[in-house]
């Protein structure tokens, strides 16, 4: 087996990215809850405390606003902090620091200051963690100008995108997914990075374009596979980053397929799917043969009961259904 075929988990890939970057750059410090000797609740920081010590891997008190703000100040003064919010839901208690301070400092200071910080966190549902531990909040961070927003869908992307995030000179919200941590994938041992703003065309097809991010990419792949049996060839695109948004790749694909369906786990209303649909209709309306369909979570808090949760989150059947509507193969087509 060549090194290119090495299979590791998404959590291990992230851990490697942190380790390799920390090795090279002494200014990198980690701040977060239980990330020290415990290694983080999802094992992403495992072994880093032993390797780099308490000065660089700092277990913070439970005080998200305080340590997010300290990370921002440290970033402004010459360190490269990587701040972990154990669950994305906890970013809400630190929102002033993230969005009023971190995202705006470069601009408000007229470029005198930059805030080279990475906020790492994880989101998404599917584990029965209920409404305060299951949200998909990426749109909120994409909406306020000043930070980049990244959501990797595979171990390979997780490592390459995290390395890029660490080398950026601005705040980056790096959103992992709790159900992907144990998924395995090819991750080469050789050094690589993945540029932001470059969507990944995972499956080529000519009948319809499917755009998604993070775990929704896996649902999209499943739906595409199911449709293949019926002779429908969907193009599956993983956006990888919401900010910057690779609208060109989506436009090119829509020009070819003339149909677009967007899949995200964030609540459907006011989600990033609406933004993408709007941009596509503004720019390539004449190429569309059907309305743009969006699939998102239902507009409710995430219920605890796993049967109800399943009902709220997007399902492969929903995607297949909407694709058929888009292709006028089904009643309800517009």
């Amino acid at each position: 087996m060549s090194t290119n075929e090495r299979m590791i988990t998404y959590a291990e890939a992230l851990n490697e990215a942190l380790k390799e970057e920390m090795e090279k750059n002494e200014d990198i410090i980690l701040l977060g809850e239980d990330i020290g000797p415990y290694g983080g609740v999802f094992n992403v920081t495992k072994g880093l405390f032993e390797r780099y010590g308490a000065e660089r891997v700092i277990d913070t008190p439970i005080s998200e606003a305080g340590f997010a703000g300290a990370g921002i100040g440290a970033a402004m003064t010459g360190l490269k902090p990587i701040v972990e919010f154990m669950w994305i839901d906890f970013t809400f208690v630190a929102m002033d620091q993230i969005l009023n301070q971190g995202a705006k400092m470069a601009y408000m200071s007229g470029g005198q200051t930059t805030v080279p910080i990475v906020f790492r966190t994880q989101g998404g549902g599917g584990r029965g963690n209920a409404a305060q531990h299951s949200q998909s909040l990426e749109t909120i961070f994409a909406h306020v100008p000043g930070m980049k927003v990244v959501l990797p869908s595979s171990p390979y992307d997780a490592k390459g995108l995290l390395k890029t995030a660490i080398r950026e000179n601005c705040p980056v919200m790096f959103i992992e997914n709790k159900l992907l941590y144990n998924t395995k994938g090819h991750v080469p041992e050789e050094e690589y990075t993945i540029a932001f703003g470059q969507a990944n065309v995972l499956v080529e097809g000519e009948d319809i374009t499917m755009v998604s991010i993070s775990r929704s990419v896996h649902l999209s792949l499943e739906a595409a596979e199911a449709l293949k049996a019926e002779g429908i060839h969907a193009e599956v695109i993983d956006l990888r980053t919401l900010v910057p948004l690779d609208i060109e790749t989506i436009k090119d694909s829509v020009k070819k397929t003339n149909r677009l369906i967007i899949v995200h786990e964030a609540a459907k209303s006011f989600g990033w799917g609406a933004e993408l649909a709007a941009q596509i209709s503004e720019e390539v309306f004449d190429y569309l043969d059907a309305p743009v369909y969006r699939i998102g979570a239902k507009d409710t808090p995430i219920p605890y009961n796993m049967k109800l949760e399943k009902e709220v989150l997007p399902k492969v059947e929903d995607i297949v259904d909407d694709i058929k509507k888009s292709l006028y193969m089904k009643e309800g087509s517009k």
């Binding site: 410090i29 000065e55 700092i58 913070t60 008190p61 005080s63 606003a65 305080g66 340590f67 997010a68 703000g69 300290a70 990370g71 921002i72 100040g73 440290a74 970033a75 402004m76 003064t77 010459g78 360190l79 902090p81 208690v93 002033d96 620091q97 009023n100 301070q101 400092m105 470069a106 601009y107 408000m108 200071s109 007229g110 470029g111 005198q112 200051t113 100008p145 000043g146 930070m147 980049k148 000179n169 601005c170």
Partner: protein, 330 residues
């Protein structure tokens, strides 16, 4: 652990002429700057609101005269006084307030968001308590890099009711960071008396709660503030952790210019005008014979001329080009 109430002794007033001149100049510079800002606001040269620092000058001067340019500082939307005390150029400050190209932030920050990389100013902040954890971050860098720098954060009494204030104190205490928390207790949290917002008489109790060395000082006496600042900065530089300073002072004007001030009596304001920092320091200068009436007048006049010249120059400065809208976003 108990609050340390700073008491002035005769030793405090053994200063030489050059020190007295420098303090007097600093106090006047801020006073005239703020007065000129109000004038500019009335003329429509400044957008948004102006939150004057008049009455609190002794805090900024007393603390900042002990800092180096390279030390870090965060401050509030009332922060021009701190900026000047740390050595800011009044022309660039006015230019920023007028939204001009030569302003510290190229006209993108305005009166509430003055930042200066060369002065270690990590930003004045439009959010009450927003700058406190950012200064903690500066202190974290200072400690990690071992360059002997300290961080100072200025905030008002109202900020001590914000959660992030408590989180910052605790984090700084636990990590023993080189930071000085300076609470300017001016008795009002925007339009509400601080006594309606918390039961503690001395806000320094909040420092004690986190096992931080905490001091109460007369914030209208620049030499008293100078003395506690010196000790606090020395504590931070020598690796002995944070200090909390409660400087008791008074906001002589409203929360912002144009505030109706219905929440306090004219008599109360008059009482504080009788013990405002410039008056106090002038009396000290004469009593201890550091400076004569004429010398005081000369220094004040010089400060006023500098401010006026900067103001006039800033009025003539260009506006930023429209392309600036899209720069510095990331």
């Amino acid at each position: 652990m108990e609050i340390n109430f700073f008491e002035a002794t005769e030793d405090l007033y053994k200063v030489d002429k050059s020190e007295a001149t420098s303090i007097w100049h600093g106090l006047n510079q801020i006073r005239f700057f703020e007065e000129a800002s109000i004038k500019a606001y009335k003329k429509g040269l400044i957008g948004g609101s102006v939150h004057p620092y008049i009455g609190q000058e002794a805090v900024a001067v007393g603390i900042c005269r002990n800092l180096n340019n390279t030390d870090y500082m965060t401050t509030t939307y009332r922060g021009r006084g701190h900026a000047l005390a740390k050595g800011a150029d009044p022309f660039k400050l006015f230019a920023e307030m007028f939204g001009r190209k030569s302003g510290y932030c190229k006209g993108k920050g305005g009166p509430m968001h003055i930042a200066s990389k060369e002065l270690g100013m990590l930003g004045a902040n439009g959010i009450v308590a927003g700058g406190i954890p950012i200064a903690v971050g500066g202190a974290l860098t200072a400690k990690r890099k071992g360059e002997g720098k300290v961080a100072v954060t200025f905030f008002g009494d109202g900020a001590t009711n914000q959660g992030v204030f408590h989180e910052s104190l605790n984090l700084a205490a636990v990590l023993q960071l080189p930071i000085i928390f300076v609470c300017e207790n001016n008795l009002y949290s925007e339009m509400t008396p601080i006594s309606d917002s918390l039961l503690n008489k001395d806000l320094a109790e909040r420092g004690i709660a986190y096992h931080i060395h905490s001091v109460v000082v007369d914030g209208n006496d620049p030499l008293a503030v100078d003395a506690v600042a010196k000790e606090a900065i020395e504590r931070a530089r020598s690796g002995n952790g944070p200090t909390f300073i409660e400087a008791k002072t008074y906001r002589l004007l409203g929360h912002m210019f144009g505030d109706s001030e219905t929440y306090r009596t004219k008599e109360e304001v008059q009482e504080w005008w009788a013990k405002e920092p410039l008056k106090i320091f002038k009396e000290q200068c004469l009593q201890y014979e550091w400076l004569s009436e004429r010398e005081l007048e000369e220094v004040a006049e010089e400060a006023k001329e500098e401010i006026n010249a900067s103001y006039e120059q800033a009025v003539l400065d260009e506006e930023p080009s429209l392309e600036e809208v899209y720069t510095d976003v990331y």
